[in-house]
Symmetry: D2
Subunit: 379 residues, 4 copies
Amino acid sequence: MTKPLNIGMIGYGFMGKAHTNAYASANHFFPELEYKPVLKAVCARNKDKAQVFADTWGYESVETDWREMLKRDDIDAVDICTPNNLHKEIAIAAAEAGKAILCEKPLAMDVAEGEEMCEAVEKAGVPNIVWYNYRRLPAVTLAKQLIDEGRLGRIFHYRANFLQDWTINEDVPQGGAATWRLDADAAGSGVTGDLLAHCIDTAVWLNGLVKDVSAMTETFVKERPDAETGEKKPVKIDDACSFMCHFQNGSLGLFESTRYARGHKALYTFEVNGEKASLKWDLHDLHRLEYFDHADDSVVRGWRNIHVSDGDQPYLDHWWVPGLQIGYEHSFIHQVADFLAGYEKGNPVAPTFRDALETQKICDAVLKSAHDHSWVEIS
Amino acid sequence: MTKPLNIGMIGYGFMGKAHTNAYASANHFFPELEYKPVLKAVCARNKDKAQVFADTWGYESVETDWREMLKRDDIDAVDICTPNNLHKEIAIAAAEAGKAILCEKPLAMDVAEGEEMCEAVEKAGVPNIVWYNYRRLPAVTLAKQLIDEGRLGRIFHYRANFLQDWTINEDVPQGGAATWRLDADAAGSGVTGDLLAHCIDTAVWLNGLVKDVSAMTETFVKERPDAETGEKKPVKIDDACSFMCHFQNGSLGLFESTRYARGHKALYTFEVNGEKASLKWDLHDLHRLEYFDHADDSVVRGWRNIHVSDGDQPYLDHWWVPGLQIGYEHSFIHQVADFLAGYEKGNPVAPTFRDALETQKICDAVLKSAHDHSWVEIS
Amino acid sequence: MTKPLNIGMIGYGFMGKAHTNAYASANHFFPELEYKPVLKAVCARNKDKAQVFADTWGYESVETDWREMLKRDDIDAVDICTPNNLHKEIAIAAAEAGKAILCEKPLAMDVAEGEEMCEAVEKAGVPNIVWYNYRRLPAVTLAKQLIDEGRLGRIFHYRANFLQDWTINEDVPQGGAATWRLDADAAGSGVTGDLLAHCIDTAVWLNGLVKDVSAMTETFVKERPDAETGEKKPVKIDDACSFMCHFQNGSLGLFESTRYARGHKALYTFEVNGEKASLKWDLHDLHRLEYFDHADDSVVRGWRNIHVSDGDQPYLDHWWVPGLQIGYEHSFIHQVADFLAGYEKGNPVAPTFRDALETQKICDAVLKSAHDHSWVEIS
Amino acid sequence: MTKPLNIGMIGYGFMGKAHTNAYASANHFFPELEYKPVLKAVCARNKDKAQVFADTWGYESVETDWREMLKRDDIDAVDICTPNNLHKEIAIAAAEAGKAILCEKPLAMDVAEGEEMCEAVEKAGVPNIVWYNYRRLPAVTLAKQLIDEGRLGRIFHYRANFLQDWTINEDVPQGGAATWRLDADAAGSGVTGDLLAHCIDTAVWLNGLVKDVSAMTETFVKERPDAETGEKKPVKIDDACSFMCHFQNGSLGLFESTRYARGHKALYTFEVNGEKASLKWDLHDLHRLEYFDHADDSVVRGWRNIHVSDGDQPYLDHWWVPGLQIGYEHSFIHQVADFLAGYEKGNPVAPTFRDALETQKICDAVLKSAHDHSWVEIS
């Protein structure tokens, strides 16, 4: 018999759906888990919309004030799917209420907020994790495994892109439920916190901490209509951001993100070049990993295109048979499965708030560097 | 409020899992559906294993005799996930019991069986469908849409492969729960019914009926151990099968399937060449469709690699956002969603038993042609 | 100092240009060769056009009657670039005149002609070779090397396509200098002799002789204008041809060629599946070879995409540096280089007329099988 | 009848071979040219090696002192294939001697040298060009054409990489004939002048001038043996260099080059993202261009993979037939053909020394920025 982990979800948008699906599915595919999420309550200001979401997914109740939800004894864990500017307040309150916390990325609006959040969860001793979900796509987890096994040797280069094209049209508004990511007040930054944060989380996980950065940002469209009023307002977020960096292991990093790369929907790619081997991955074919092993016999040496769908590859003994791919949403299911396994044992599960703070530090440094036109050390 | 469609599942193997997941998920992503599957019972001879499966997925009860399950009034629809040699008997009994039927592919051991099954469901007037799931991968559905819109013009060529490599090792046994597909008594045929049947179903759907075939089969490994006794026994299935054909629309077909194509796990591919355009798809990157439009300006003409993940492409308004891919299992979810929509309206949903009988006719003709070394007309 | 090999070229079309470039370039890149081609004469009925060609390439003289050219003592080797229906007469006369012969493919209009040609060159003892040039693309030569080293083990499958789309338009004429390949009188057959002959030559080289075939041909456009008169005439060639076969080594073959595969300009592809490894190649990326080695560690196993441009890969120590690709024309340069090396030592260089006769036998059997709708043994 | 352009070649290494092949082949494929190169003399300090080269390629004479060669009246044009540190002196002397000059890239050791060279050729009024050959690969020329036609609209992003892996081994020496590119005295810089210079030349050609740069360089291997003495010496070149930049048209640039990217032999790639369309290219498949046109109907929108081998694409009416690819060396043949056409008309042919000076300015700024850890304006 499984034990319940009662979930209180805050938000019902795109991420609310992805997380809820993970709670609903994890135990089907990971039946060995002791704990099983129970969809206890969903919270949102708009009660009608929250009720529709609750009905669709089977949440037992609806709340309109997250403070009320935090008071409920029948909630064990809180999932924060709000815009970034609410993460801190909710997370600290949730920690104080003794709830486990699963927080959307990026952790916070800035490092100062993130520090407070880390202190709160650590003081309260509550399980905490941030939804940097891409770590748990099997091909990405396999990349981590290969690097940790030493197959790449000394690392020389790490490069990552996150390319989108959905804001090229000047009529895309800022603010509102669908486009709060273009509103600096709600999002904190543009592509840096939204896209680069993913790239940085993976990079730090795979290749270690960063020493310093030099960055460049650009806002191509200077004014956009407000999503609610239609009034044209200055755009304060970064439409594009690139940076160079040194990792602490001596390797060089190069990162770019933009929402103006025509032809790319959500092309997150990374490549790692080591002395002995290299690897490449991209989100548009997330079930594949490319791997080059210099030890291969020279006449037949080439990039191997690995279809990551076999039972001896990460997570895949829980799914189908070789050759049958899984998709985007499975990264969330894996994160829930790992979180539940850690919850059972009382172990922290990465990326914790503290792990995510490292990414926040780099994001802040990137924005400062772009502002100051100078290299910035990561403290 | 949704209405229940009470499901009785027969079998708990790979397909039982894929179908059950579809029943559990369909209404989350297609909340407009009126009917919602309820996992009422799972049936299998081994009660303990069936109980584990029921616990994992939330089936309310377990049966060990499918005849008993068919007697239950609280079962509306029966899902047949047994080896092929049981399809006919169960399906006919289920039809007589007035159950809706969702039957694994291939429909039957041969055309004669299939005819009986068609007659039974048509006489009983029960909803019926066969799990040729690949039709409902968005990229494949998109291919159908493009052909139906006339974008390809007159079709000249249709070619399809289904390449695997999992039986090359001579120690892979035949028979038993995991390898009944190598046992002619349980499976009827080898790759023809297992793999080519998928290729043929898609082909007939996209390109219409077939006039005649010339086929070749081979059994590379002549003896394999029995899965239960370990005793070496002659292999009676086809390890590989190729055939050429004429479609009724005048185009030429070329098909191949094998379990001896080293390097290919489950590489189902098809390509259609028309006067005005061509398209290509493969299961190892099932979220992509390649499309060549001869009307493009000649200097920039080339195969377009379409990442089928946008809301205006089939089924995808129900999933994530552009660039985020779905996987194999979603084909089953789509089939359940379409079946439920048809069930509500009383409409048949393809591929019905009758549709699947066309594929069975071609499979039978292929096996006869290979046996006789001659062309065989499809009756 | 090099020794001259005086070349008499018959024809000045596409192939005349490709061969002449090879004669002009071979010694630049293979300076170790003892013999060096000298462009002594080009022969064509149209003197003006022949003269233009001679001026462009530096041929010393022009002939309008190949019989006259064969009489010249200052011609050592004759290159036959005429339509297929002239190969036999010229080759036999050239052999009788004691000339070395380099003959365009296919060898002849049929096996009977080919037999006569083989007998003539063997009786005369003159060096002879047929321009199945694709063997000498480095990636294809590497495939041969890998198979010969036993890296693939027992072969199960060989499949090849040659897909074009240039005759879909019904206004493309038949006959004449540019489109004699659509005229059965000049070409003997359509895609079978033009395209499949290449596929078969490579297949026999890589995988050995063929036992029997079952083929299907089609002529999609039934009438075309005559290139000279404009008058509509029945089309007598095969627009498309597919065949299945058994190789003598027990493997299965599947071949297809067509000029109606919209989107493919000259897509010659082959794939070989062996017990231990597989390989794939295609002409549109002729500098690459894909290779799958089942012995690779399973978690990092995948198709290797080999960029065949390194000095330890076939022919490439004669060219540039790793990563810099060569192209189509280099296959001819390599054939000339190998022919000159054999000429110096008095060794036959494959594919000789006798080698090419094997391909002719299979082509003839394919056409007979398509005509008779039955399997045909290769004698 | 053609007119001779008498060539004096200085150097006989890799580039000497590539250029000489272009002189020998250009008129075969571009027979409309009025001028035809004549291989008059090759100059190198080592007379024996120069003689071998002359014999292989048909140079009429050998010189050992370039000053002597410049005195010869029978030399019309000088090709400078020496290490970079000799470009200036030879070029200025050649200009003063009234010779046309074809100079290897990069133009010079630095901007100061380059300015002198520009002044010399402009004062003398001699035709001059630099071998930034990649502009004349048909796919790259096609990219230029598409941008100039306005198909991309406003440009947002330009990114380019040049990735190699041949110096990872610490035993690769510096200096000497084969590895002078690792010797700062001969080469001036490492990957910046060798690889990034190519990327920059293309970028400026396609996307216009650069305003400012922020760069980072690294030398991973600190000491290497001297190629002649074997003695370990500090490495003074840059092993890797990345930079960010602003173009004058408001777009952002991101560039990287390295010789430590395991798995990449010579992977020069660029991508341009515009408002209306994007394009991508890479040197490992130099005959292809990828193109994304946002105007395509949305359900079939995708990156088009253009096989640049058709007669209506740049330069290709001079080569084979659709589907048959050309290679690396053809870029040089096209440059010679264009140079000869300009020579005939008295027109400058890009990239002239003055054009190449722009690239030199950016290279110098990149090195200064990396040294100073600050943004540097391009003067």
